[in-house]
Amino acid sequence: MSFTVERGDLFGLLGPNGAGKTTMIKILTTLLLPTAGSARVLGFDVRRQARRIRGRVGYVFGGDRGLYDRLSALDNLRYFADLYRVAPRDRRARIDSLLELVELKGRERERVETYSRGMKQRLHIARGLLHDPEILFLDEPTIGLDPLGARELRETIAALHEAGKTILLTTHYMYEADALCERIAVIANGSFVATGTPADLKAVVGDNTIVEIETFGIREETIERLRKIPGVKGVGVETRDQAQVLLVQSAVGADVVRALLNELADVVTGKVVTREPTLEDAYVELVRSA
């Protein structure tokens, strides 16, 4: 597995659970040692020059852990500012500007245990930026956030990127990766299966049309029959609540909907949608074929 992230890039790392995304980030932030191979961050070796890397990178993970809950946000930031050797004369101004950035100004003296998940996540971002790191590692930063909180956090990430920060992001949300990342790598089964811009990855299924059919209680043999319909390039199934949603790839211009519905005559079906492929379709295709 080999990849390079250029300065100023917002690089996305995608992959299913257990693919090794967090392990990769922990190796790059020097929290884990690689069992084989080598990695360099800003030219420094993660195995032998860990301390030189630590002062130059920031690490933020998702969820509400990683903070001293019984202390205030201000105390948390003061402590981490000292741990990251922010000069005492700059500390106050730096903390103030970050509190403004993450919109926690005015709430900084409240105990963290009283914060909502979104506020804690924004505080995490502020903590990760205290020492103005050259690279920011964001490991599923929007996980568990409500839609509004996630959107605000994405705006913060986009603003950091616009300001020139190099960011490595892992996420399970494809629209997030599509909206934020300049380049993306997809990991599956311990190796990269694709690397490129979101447009490059979408091109994997780019000459296809996606037909989404909501079904209830579909059998495997029926899916096999669908795969044999002329013009159908692939069929995937996603479970959404009680429904199994078929994601059928077909060549552009091939009218397969009628044939599909004929084969599904004895299956309870719901909504049928025909659309252009998304990054999620490309991701599913890449991971499946890995």
Partner: protein, 254 residues
């Protein structure tokens, strides 16, 4: 590094003071230990022996505070997910873990005073210090040495997930070997060299000699020498154990 140490001590004390369980322990334990000191020895008519037992109980409490503070705090850091973040910081781990131990020792120093006051109020234990200056120096010297011994133990807590249980298990052996429960002369001869390398042995002797009249300064000196030795050993262990924890991936609990 100094600001990180000072802020660390202050915030770890602040964090502990906001935990009702920890707070109640700090209030109740001195009473408990004062009672142990009173009933341990049938010395109601021997005021010096009673004071000596009270001081022994107070140093026992200090050791407990350090070992529980360091092991409990590290376990809490794992649960909070902050252990990974403090390891990921450029500040050496000694300057992160050390303040936790020092904060525990400072609470322990308070506990010495509280144990003596409760002993005096509840059981008429005489609190008469022969050498006040030496006594005032002996308590912080003892706290520092015990705090630094806690640093060595804390290094193992970085490595092992069941750190709190290990900390609890380490209380009694050190009490016994350091002569806090029974005089060292009662212990088998092969145990005595172990007593000499343990800070509570010298810390207790320093405080006892200062309170009862004697030569506390060599014992205070031993506390300071041991503090430096413990710091060197603890610092080296932390570097080595951090490396092992990175290789094993054991910094995170979940």
């Amino acid at each position: 590094m100094i600001p990180a140490i000072l802020t660390g001590v202050r915030l770890h004390m602040k964090q502990a003071s906001r935990n009702p369980f920890d707070l109640s322990g700090v209030i109740v334990w001195p009473i408990l230990y004062a009672s142990i000191a009173y009933y341990l020895l049938d010395a109601k008519n021997e005021p010096r022996l009673l004071l000596s037992a009270s001081l022994g109980a107070a140093v026992m409490l200090m050791w407990s505070m350090v070992v529980i503070a360091s092991s409990g705090a590290l376990e809490q850091q794992r649960w909070q997910g902050t252990l990974e973040l403090v390891v990921a910081a450029p500040t050496p781990l000694t300057a992160v873990i050390g303040p936790i131990c020092i904060a525990g020792a400072l609470v322990g120093a308070y506990a010495i005073g509280a144990t003596l006051i409760w002993g005096a109020l509840l059981f008429d234990v005489p609190v008469r210090v022969e050498q006040p200056l030496a006594f005032a120096v002996a308590i912080p010297a003892c706290a520092l040495a015990i705090g630094m011994l806690g640093l060595i133990m804390a290094a193992t807590f970085v490595l092992y997930r069941a750190s709190f249980h290990l900390g609890i298990a380490m209380q009694y052996p050190v009490w016994i070997v350091s002569g806090l429960l029974v005089p060292i002369s009662f212990l088998p001869s092969f145990v005595r060299p172990l007593s000499w390398v343990l800070a509570p042995t010298w810390g207790f002797r320093a405080i006892q000699e200062a309170a009862l009249g004697g030569t506390p300064w060599p014992d205070i000196g031993m506390c300071l020498v041991l503090s430096l030795v413990y710091l060197a050993i603890g610092g080296s262990c932390l570097i080595a154990f951090e490396y092992i924890a990175r290789a094993r991936g054991s910094l995170r609990l979940t």
